[in-house]
């Protein structure tokens, strides 16, 4: 059975210049208690992102998610606990919403209490917050066709509520 959550939501231009793409995520949580950064770097072969940052390498990203904790977006499914790094499969636990377009900031300002204005939230940064009472992580992605793109991760069970809320809000942006 297809996942009814996923899909592409495009607003008519008269409503808003923004689209929302909803997909499941493949993700591992990497954490530990001692020398975590060095060990995670060894395990992933990636540079450790500083607080609030994302490291990108090929198709994979390493996302800062708190002290001694990182989220690795990856297609690998064979990671395992090793040398004090605990690899917990979180695949499908979060749903990803790509919010793209000229009105992306205006749309997110309808619920996200974060300063994401131009110059305040750089490409490759991540923040953990909430939208309309739903916990989210937000990443500023590379611009798409000159327009900003924000990647929002939400617990899968709330994905439909959040998507509905954003689509509803997007209908009155213009």
């Amino acid at each position: 059975m297809a996942n009814a959550l996923n899909g592409h939501f495009e607003m008519p231009q008269t409503f808003a210049a923004v689209s929302i793409d909803v997909t499941a995520t493949n993700m591992w949580q990497l954490e530990g208690c001692e020398n975590v950064d060095a060990k995670v770097a060894t395990m992933t072969g990636m540079a450790i992102p500083a607080q609030g940052q994302v490291t990108v390498q090929g198709d994979e990203r390493l996302v800062w998610a708190g002290r001694d904790r990182y989220l690795l977006t990856t297609n690998r499914s064979d990671l395992a606990d090793n040398d004090g790094v605990y690899a917990t499969d979180q695949t499908y636990g979060k749903t990803q919403l790509l919010i793209t377009g000229e009105d992306a900031r205006a749309l997110l300002s309808r619920g996200l209490p974060l300063d994401i204005d131009e110059g305040q939230f750089a490409i490759g940064e991540v923040q953990h917050s909430h939208i309309n009472h739903i916990g989210v992580s937000v990443i500023r992605n590379n611009d798409v066709s000159g327009q900003p793109q924000f990647e929002v991760w939400v617990m899968r069970g709330f994905a439909k509520s959040l998507t509905d809320f954003l689509v509803h809000s997007a209908h009155t942006l213009r």
Partner: protein
Amino acid sequence: MSGFRHGAGRLGDAQLNFTFDGKPMLARTGDTVASALLANGVEIVGRSFKYHRPRGVTSSGPEETGALVTIGAGGKADPNARATMEPITAGLEVFSQNCFPSPKFDLMSINGLAGAVLPGSLFSAGFYYKTFMWPAALWYKFYEPAIRSAAGMGVPPKVADPDIYDRIQMFCEVAVVGGGSAGLSAALSASQSGLRVVLFDEHNDLGGQLLNEANSEANADLEQWRADTVAALHAASNVRVLTRAVCWGRFDGNMLAAHQSVDGKVRQNYIKVQAKKIIIAAGAIERPLVFGNNDKPNVMLASGARRMLNHYGTATGKMIAVFTNNDSAYQTAFDYSDAGIKVSAVVDSRQYPGQALVDGCKSRGIPLHTQSVVTEAKGWQAVRSIEIADLAANGQSVSNRRRVACDVLAHSGGWTPQVQMASHGGKPPVYDKKIAAFVVGDQAPDTYSVGAAEGENGLLAGVSQAIEAAKAACAELGGTAGSVTAPPQDRDGATNVVPLWSVPAKGKQLVDIQHDVTAADVIQSHREGFVSVEHLKRYTTLGMANDQGRTSNVNALAIMAQCRGISIAEAGTTRFRAPIAPVSMGGFAGREIGKHFKPVRRTPMQEWHEKAGAVFVQAGMYMRPQYYPQAGETIDDAYERETAHVRQKVGICDVTSLGKIEIVGPDAAEFLDRVYINMFSTLKVGKARYGVMLREDGIVYDDGTTSRFAEDRFFMTTTTAKAGPVMAYLERCLEIDWPELKVRVSSVSERWGAMAVAGPDSRATLTAAFPSVDFSNEAFPFMGVVHAEHNGAKMVLLRISFSGEMAYEVYAESEHATDMWQTIIDAGQAYDIVPYGLETLGALRIEKGHVTGAELDGRVTLGDVHMDGMASKKKWFVGKNLKDREGLVHPDRPQLVGLRSVDPRTPISTGSILVTDANASAGADKQGWVSSMTYSPELGSFIALGFLRGGKDRIGERIYAAYPVKGRTVEVEVVSNHFVDPTNERVKG
């Protein structure tokens, strides 16, 4: 009829239709409801709060006390709107308020007479408190209906508001509150630093008091300055100009809150602005003078009358008189006179207003009465004349009373700075004798109060103050504010006010015009001992109407200070609270209405349940299937069928809502030994164990099963209700209590869809569904754990049972969980598998005597639920120190028992009280309560779980479950809480 169109002001030419109480009227674009009503000759707009006195337009701004109207009809109706703040739109419907049968003739105005004849009667100061004192029987019969029907303003809509409201979060470095000359200058100056600036103004047009100025040749350069400044702000990409946005509160962390009215698909935005610096340029509000009948329609604030003429092209009357104690009101007289409207008198309570003003009157032929006061406004409904008199030098008496004809009286008692935003910042305003009002004084952190808001009424002086503030604010943020062209003309701000707090006069002298609080009420409040300003406010309700004391505050506390023989500074002022202006609830609700009222959490199988026709019930944030009715089935039919079916064959239930937590690290086992009462370090890899947690005080907190996936990796499940709290509790333990433990915990609740497969045929069903897994007792015993894959999707299988039958829990990756569920359903067809809901889940566990949240209600000990044997004696655990306190181990504590209806078809109500006497009265000895009930198909009887004093030793006793709310008493037999399969044979299969 007194008001009329006179010139263009700054309005557009386009004509708009609107209606007032159904009567069609014409307005121009840019009109407010107030200016349009005046232009149409409307004098009486509504009736007052308590006394139903006729009221008209009293101002041109947010301080409006008289013209409160209902805007729109049906669900869109907005009661108590200030007519001065509502723009006219095409087809707008406007309604008067508090009038029966009409604004001109109102039956309730007798209230005012009653007050006059019987001072201190029904509606005078403190009437809330006095009328509700004796005798109680009259509260509901008389006082409440009488007060309710007489008092109150407007009528809330009876149907839902169909409009959309948005909530918007903004961030900026510099927020400027107020778009007058000072605010505009501050914003423009700050904008040149490149920092982000947000400017709020509650009016449609920016300019503040500049809009009071005549739009004339002589002022053309000033008007151009205003237009250029506004245009420059609109052009700046780092400035957000928010008009029709009332900034109503300032909160911790420099957060400002505003409601903005917008034209379009959304009606209002509730905007929260997080600022680094706040410049308050909120201006000042003109104070009324307190004299007889000062609330009569066509008594207006002088600045309001002036703006009506100069900005809205609406003359308020054909013959105007001015009453003042300061210089500013003279300009109203001069502008009206210069516009060709007769000014019949300027009445000035001061001895000498200065030669310039004397000459100004003389050259225009305006009669000037100095050292004089207006004692009373006269006229049947609206002003038709005034009585004036000479004021004695000591201000205590008047003489030489005489009449002056006029149809509008414009008055001014000085100017009150708008200090509310600064007051919210925590600083009490201080009294400034020069302007006879309170100013901010000591600034709150990150706050700059400038211009008229700080008592500086001069145009150039205020602008230069504002630019200084912008420069200081930007400099602290590392920016450089720019210079701004000064206004080409100045307006001397010196008002030379000489306080005149009240006039010795007849008639009602209103202090708070909106709440019908009179000078006499203030004096009575003093007489009855309510002398502090905070008591005065509450006793008289002064300052509690929607102008929030803007016009009344200073006058009232000045009168109180006079009564007490102390200075105004000593009397002090009340603190201001948010919101400072009426704001719609719609804005606060935003989009959190209907399906967005609260987020819904969905399990991966939600759609399957919907298609299967499940009836849903709210469980935490989830909507869970309650039962799956077949054709014609009631809820009882359905769950009894589902329950029997699970006991006889096999059923499947969505249990995704259980909390799922992975616990990893070298000290994970030690950690679990500390949080659970029983031992987990001895658990073998590949096995699961039931565990119970206590709170530190020894009360049962939560239960669930935890499986060991590896030496240093565990998988915990919690109850649905405690999923979040347990996760937070575990994190707290690791962060604060035991930071030395090398353990990490993470929620994997959303990774897995969970399903319970229960019943004698569960093993056969799962074997058919997942042939690669060996479900034999040897390979997969009771409390066993198996990792598996099916069609490339990962699964965890636990052999555990909540129902008492042979059962498994299947955890499947959420993206594939519905496929797994369907695979099991398909494989289970051979065994007549049925899906079952929460009702059956509950029935099965009650039959088995398992406890859930209904039993573990935060008052229950291990002994109460017969689990004290589980507590390990070999180790310490949370709750161990306090669980054996005397009161917690007393043999008379209510203990878990089973209850069985003596008549098997009689249900036992949850919440019943357990008593030993069938005819127990309210004072009877209550020995316990019923926590859960169900019908047990297996026993053919209604059964229940409950807590009974000393219940452990009372098996076999017959007692009564009384439910006095419904007058129901059921005879029950006390039995073991293990109704079905007490020796646990079935789970082992």
